[in-house]
Subunit: 214 residues, 2 copies
DNA sequence: GTCTATAATATGATAGAC
DNA sequence: GTCTATCATATTATAGAC
């Protein structure tokens, strides 16, 4: 029992090093994508040896999985439900089209302010890495379900997919391609310009809503 | 002069083999992206040796450049101007917002029907390859300029960028990610759903148009 | 708990044979 | 004009030393 709380235990030490590695990996995967990020570069950036990274995470695939599994699935209605402790993340919310629009815009506003690096790692890699693509599909599905639920139209699923694709394009060009107009614009500017666009997709024409599945 | 036109000249033979290699490369770059496409795989797919590919194109970078330089820059107003021999590709066209919307939708419709593989090669690779990213920026610029010209608003450049980002997202999810809803939808369905969205971005509110740059 | 040494493989590129 | 052989390098991954 020498120095009961002074020095970190081996487990704490390991956890700390693991975190440094994960942080370095997250950043590099987000900046360069899966293929162009090497174990060596991650280790060097974390100030450790490449062998240690392998020892802790087993393989590059598993390291990438650990980095991207922490990516928060964007909950469309997180904001609309007040963001309190009440609503579960996966819970479906029978919102109106207007609520869906505003919730989606709020969610987009957060992402335009500060998109998590783990999400950028997925977005950067998903066109050339099957695991990343799966991760994206899985993460996007609840959002798609929520939107589809809220859109009163026979083609609600396609409308939801278009909304998702639009957000994908905007985030990709702002953060990954860094096209100047989109990278420099304020979240508010973008939100304001996209609101009518989103409204048109969440709100179906009157006859469409009454229509059949054809 | 034995058999003046019967057998192909060496130049013709070479050109033919080059074309086979380019076709194979185009397809593989579009399917797997730059990094995951190997010279060996291209050669094998073209039915030749890897050394020959290097001999003809010099390097992998140059091969990719040859594949992607043939990607047609989408001209927004190609359709609106009648598609005849009159308008140059780079010529600016002082269209109205409504004309811009319809031209952009027509252009998108073509791409939703049959996006060229050389464009897909660029789109697939541009998040992880600087050359591909430059190619995309260069190809998108004329379209952005045309759109900005046609949108009567102080934030016309941001509106144009958003339109471009939206198209990018839709094309990427349809062809590269192959998300089912977007991959299965008909061009007409997508066009119809996006028309109001595009209209809202090309058409500024009345006071905005009269406003200053603030 | 961390690092060194090395295996096993794959790649872009080059030189030269036929 | 096309292919064989090879170089030089870089990577993930493993085994074992300290």
């Amino acid at each position: 029992m020498t120095e009961p709380t002074a020095r970190p235990t081996r487990a704490q030490q390991r956890r700390q090093t693991e975190d440094r590695i994960l942080t370095a990996a997250r950043q590099l995967f987000a900046e360069r994508g899966y293929d162009r990020t090497t174990i060596r570069a991650v280790a060097s950036s974390a100030g450790v040896d490449a062998g240690l990274v392998m020892h802790y995470f087993g393989s590059k695939d598993l390291l990438f999985a650990r980095v991207t599994e922490t990516a928060p699935a964007p909950d469309v209605f997180q904001a609309a439900t007040g963001g309190g402790a009440g609503a579960e993340a996966g819970e479906l919310y029978g919102g109106t089209p207007d609520e869906a629009t505003e919730a989606l815009l709020t969610s987009l506003g957060r992402r335009l302010t500060d998109e998590p690096e783990s999400s950028l790692a997925v977005l950067r890699s998903m066109l050339t890495n099957a695991d990343a693509a799966d991760r994206y599909r899985t993460a996007a599905q609840p959002q798609l379900d929520q939107l589809t639920e809220a859109i009163p139209a026979p083609d609600a699923d396609l409308r939801a997919s278009l909304l998702s694709a639009i957000i994908h394009g905007v985030i990709a060009e702002r953060y990954l391609l860094r096209l100047t107009n989109l990278a420099d614009a304020s979240p508010e500017q973008i939100i304001t310009l996209l609101r009518p666009c989103f409204e048109s997709l969440t709100t179906a024409p009157a006859d469409d809503a009454a229509d059949g599945q054809g």
